[in-house]
């Protein structure tokens, strides 16, 4: 380049004025301030300033030729037939290079991504929950509607337990706990004839529990403890928050994939697939202790229930897998939960239900039919069915969030419930 300043070199191209599809030969020079274009029959060359140029495709070092246009001559185009010319032009008009164009196109979006990442980090560091904010804004009617859909799709064909005496006993317990909870609305508790050991908080101050949970409980205090824990979830709107999050996420996915909302149809499945954070569980436990104390019910029932679940977990999982189970479970360590209950200062307590009421509650699903297939899993569960084989330690994803409790219920399709 030392002997050839570039601007002196003459290149060739074809020029079209944009008025017709005809083209004519042109001589091109890279002048200091633009491309000088000399057409046959014209003495004075046109000048296309570098800043006014655009190219049909971004200039690259591999260019064989290049097609240019300029705001100096709207509609006209210049086809430079030599790669050398195009590569030298890139030096004078760097905004035409692929690198410059990509950067200027991507820059605002990279900034936006960084901003979104910063917001996400802020939300997680300061523990903000947009879903919870939306959940608190839902009108009661909407929450009730969500709740009844969830119950309908979760229970499916299963029967609601409706023994009159059992219902009366349950009602007495519910009223006692509702009052003690200080919540504005009364909780509504439904027992489903279901061989799954679980209890769910459902939007709209509703709670679902199962025949098997009632059967497994050894005292009314235990049932009261579990229900108080679920009321804690209800007071904190955990189910609503989880649903808002699930619906928001799946709506986002649907939109990205151009779907038609099909996966949103089943609110119950979404609810069953929810899994609360350990923090949410701790909050629910705190509420449970407060409610039990206000209701003058001993929290030892809750502790006993936890302890028995823990024992079953060990029976099933064995010590070797405990670390992994604790690590992947979203429930606080059971020992930690029991310790928290034990740390409570003692208070005077009466049994949650009279012996007669407790017997009635036990019979809410009608007389136990020995030998019936409780889960519909083809197995004879019996009242104290041996636990099915433990699944292999889960690795990650939703499966990992299952609580040890559910390991017992491996075969039940709706095993994903959380909540005790």
């Amino acid at each position: 380049m030392a002997s050839d300043p570039g601007s002196k070199a003459v290149f060739y191209g074809r020029y079209s004025d944009g008025k017709s599809a005809a083209a004519s030969d042109a001589q091109l020079q890279l002048a200091p301030d633009g491309i000088a274009i000399k057409l046959a029959g014209h003495d004075v060359p046109m000048l296309w300033p570098y800043a006014s140029l655009s190219s049909a495709e971004p200039l690259s070092e591999y260019a064989i030729d290049g097609l240019l246009s300029s705001t100096a001559a709207p509609g006209a185009s210049l086809f430079a037939t030599e790669g050398t010319f195009v590569r030298r032009l890139a030096g004078s008009a760097p905004h035409l290079t692929a690198k410059a164009q990509r950067w200027s196109n991507a820059k605002p979006w990279i900034a936006a991504t960084a901003l979104i990442a910063a917001i996400a980090v802020t939300i997680s560091v300061f523990n903000l929950s947009p879903s919870h904010a939306i959940a608190t804004m839902l009108p009661d009617k909407a929450r009730a509607k969500l709740g009844s859909h969830a119950i309908a799709s979760m229970t499916g064909e299963r029967r609601t337990c409706d023994d009159a005496k059992g219902l009366a006993a349950l009602n007495r317990l519910t009223e006692k706990l509702s009052k003690a909870s200080g919540a504005s609305a009364k909780f509504d508790i439904t027992v489903i004839d279901w061989g799954l050991l679980n209890a769910f908080a459902v939007p709209g101050e509703r709670i679902i529990t199962t025949r098997k949970l009632i059967a497994k409980a050894e005292s009314a205090d235990e049932v009261a403890g579990v229900l108080a824990h679920e009321m804690g979830h209800g007071i904190e709107l955990h189910a609503e928050t989880g649903l808002v999050r699930a619906i928001g996420l799946s709506a986002a996915v649907e939109l990205m994939l151009g779907g038609s909302g099909g996966t949103l149809a089943n609110v119950g499945v979404a609810l069953a697939a929810l899994s609360y954070s350990r923090e949410a569980e701790r909050d629910a436990d705190t509420h449970a202790l407060r409610i039990l104390k206000n209701a003058a019910i001993s929290s030892k029932g809750l502790a006993a229930f936890f302890a028995r679940m823990k024992k079953e977990e060990l029976d099933v999982g064995g010590d070797s897998t405990r670390g992994v189970l604790d690590a992947v479970s979203t429930h606080p360590n059971t020992v930690e939960r029991i310790a928290k209950i034990a740390a409570q200062t003692p208070y005077p307590a009466k049994p949650a239900l009279s012996d007669g009421d407790w017997a009635d509650l036990k019979g809410i699903c009608g007389p136990a039919k020995p030998g019936m297939d409780e889960d519909g899993d083809g197995q004879n569960d019996g009242a104290e069915a041996p636990a099915p084989k433990k699944p292999p330690p889960s690795k990650d994803g939703p499966a990992a969030k299952k609580k040890p409790l559910q390991k017992l219920e491996k075969r039940d399709k709706a095993k994903s419930g959380r909540d005790i």
Binding site: R14, A21, E57, Y62, A63, W109, H149, G259, A327, D396
Partner: protein, 434 residues
């Protein structure tokens, strides 16, 4: 090497043939020579576009797609001079936003509302999609037409723009009602339908102020179509026969203990057999339909005229299959790379979990890894599409020529069509090939 053509060509001497006149005068007729100049650096462009999609939450895809089109359009040469793609990423993005807000968002919100208001068991879940599908069908028709219009208005040769004049609703309506008749005619309306639709698209197309003419009749296509139709029937019958000859029905017959479940090995064998038959049948059908497609492409080209010149296309079924198989393999490679990246990004989480190290502190890490992994997976979709599109276009262009002469000096700029946004609908329904 992904593509042998994807190597930088040496910068050659000026391409201008010495015999060409220095400029065309009005009225002078020129023979137009169509050629293909393979764009360079497409593999690097695939990687760059992927990275930029990744760091922009996928939004860069509109600009990435635009750069790919610019490179592919430049590869199409008429008289050695490139076509220019003058569209922008911003236009595609705006088109997407508008369709997102006016079509996708309402559809999703209404579906959501339907399921929340009426509940999961309600018949509304059946009725709503039935009402929705005709609408989507009409929107696809409109989208197809508008996508072609957008691309033509953004296609420039020697400073002269393409364009389209006509009614997208007319096209969409024809598209819709003729599709309704397809089932009752057992598909025999297809050649007539595609000729009719192609006729609308071609006759509405403009280059500068000149229109294209289309004289194709569906008649000649019916011979190849009947071969396709009876051939497909034969393939279906053959597939079912092979399957039933190889399946042991007794395995499933209930005996005194009730219905039997086949053994695991038997189940695996059956599944493998079903897959093998399905893949073989699909491939046979694909070859046959590609052959029909080549016939119709060539037929339509031979009856497309511009200013007295006529197009000629010489694609073959085998050629189309070869392109499609190569494209499929490139796509598979893209999926594998995407999944590998996903796995790589999630590996730390798996290792932590497996080692029992995971605790509350790592929950945040897990969500971050999941989000980043999912983003990588999304960004990797269409990883090699620059190469795939160039391969497809190369095949079509290399088999395309123009017979006769065109008075280039007479073609003036057409009226300006003000389109400020791109083909949102076509993108939304995934019907844009290039």
């Amino acid at each position: 090497m992904l593509d042998q053509q994807d190597t930088p060509l040496p910068a050659g001497p000026p391409a201008a043939p010495p015999t060409r006149p220095s400029s065309e005068s009005p009225g002078e007729r020129t023979t137009l020579h169509i050629s293909w100049l393979q764009p360079t650096g497409l593999l690097a462009l695939s990687a760059t576009n992927f990275l930029l999609r990744f760091v922009t939450l996928g939004i860069y895809s509109f600009w990435g797609k635009t750069e790919v089109r610019k490179r592919i359009w430049s590869g199409i040469r008429i008289e050695g001079e490139p076509l220019q793609y003058s569209g922008t990423g911003k236009e595609l993005f705006l088109g997407f936003l508008i369709i997102f807000g006016a079509v996708l968002l309402p559809i999703t919100l209404i579906s959501l509302a339907v399921s929340l208001i009426f509940g999961p068991e309600s018949p509304a879940h059946v009725i709503f999609p039935i009402l929705l599908y005709p609408l989507i069908f009409i929107l696809i028709g409109i989208g197809t037409y508008r996508a072609q219009r957008y691309r033509l208005t953004r296609t420039v040769w020697r400073g002269i723009r393409g364009g389209m004049q006509g009614s997208d609703v007319h096209y969409a309506w024809t598209y819709f009602w003729s599709a309704l008749l397809l089932p009752s005619t057992l598909g025999w309306l297809t050649p007539w339908r595609s000729t009719e639709l192609q006729k609308i698209l071609t006759r509405d197309s403009r280059f500068g102020d000149r229109a294209f003419t289309f004289t194709a009749k569906p008649g000649p296509l019916y011979r190849s179509f009947s071969a396709l139709w009876f051939g497909s029937l034969f393939i279906a019958i053959a597939a079912v026969s092979i399957f039933s000859l190889n399946i042991d029905i007794k395995m499933f017959m209930p005996d005194e203990f009730g219905p039997k479940l086949p053994s695991p090995e038997h189940t695996i064998k059956m599944i493998a057999l079903i897959y093998a038959i399905f893949i073989a049948a699909y491939f046979a059908y694909y070859i046959l339909s590609a052959w029909y497609r080549s016939k119709s492409i060539n037929h339509f080209a031979a009856h497309t005229h511009f200013e007295g010149a006529t197009f000629r296309s010489t694609v073959t079924g085998f050629g189309l299959v070869r392109v499609a198989v190569g494209n499929f393999l490139l796509n598979v490679m893209g999926w594998i790379i995407g999944l590998a990246l996903f796995g790589l990004l999630l590996a730390p989480v798996w290792i932590l979990n497996a080692g029992g190290i995971a605790n509350e502190g790592t929950e945040g890490l897990r969500s971050v890894a999941m989000a980043v992994g999912a983003l990588a997976l999304i960004a990797s979709s269409g990883l090699f599409s620059p190469i795939i599109q160039a391969r497809t276009m190369r095949y079509l262009v290399k088999n395309l020529s123009i017979d006769g002469t065109v008075p280039l000096g007479n073609i003036a700029q057409g009226e300006v069509q003000k389109l400020s946004r791109g083909e949102g609908l076509a993108q939304a329904f995934d019907i844009d090939g290039f």
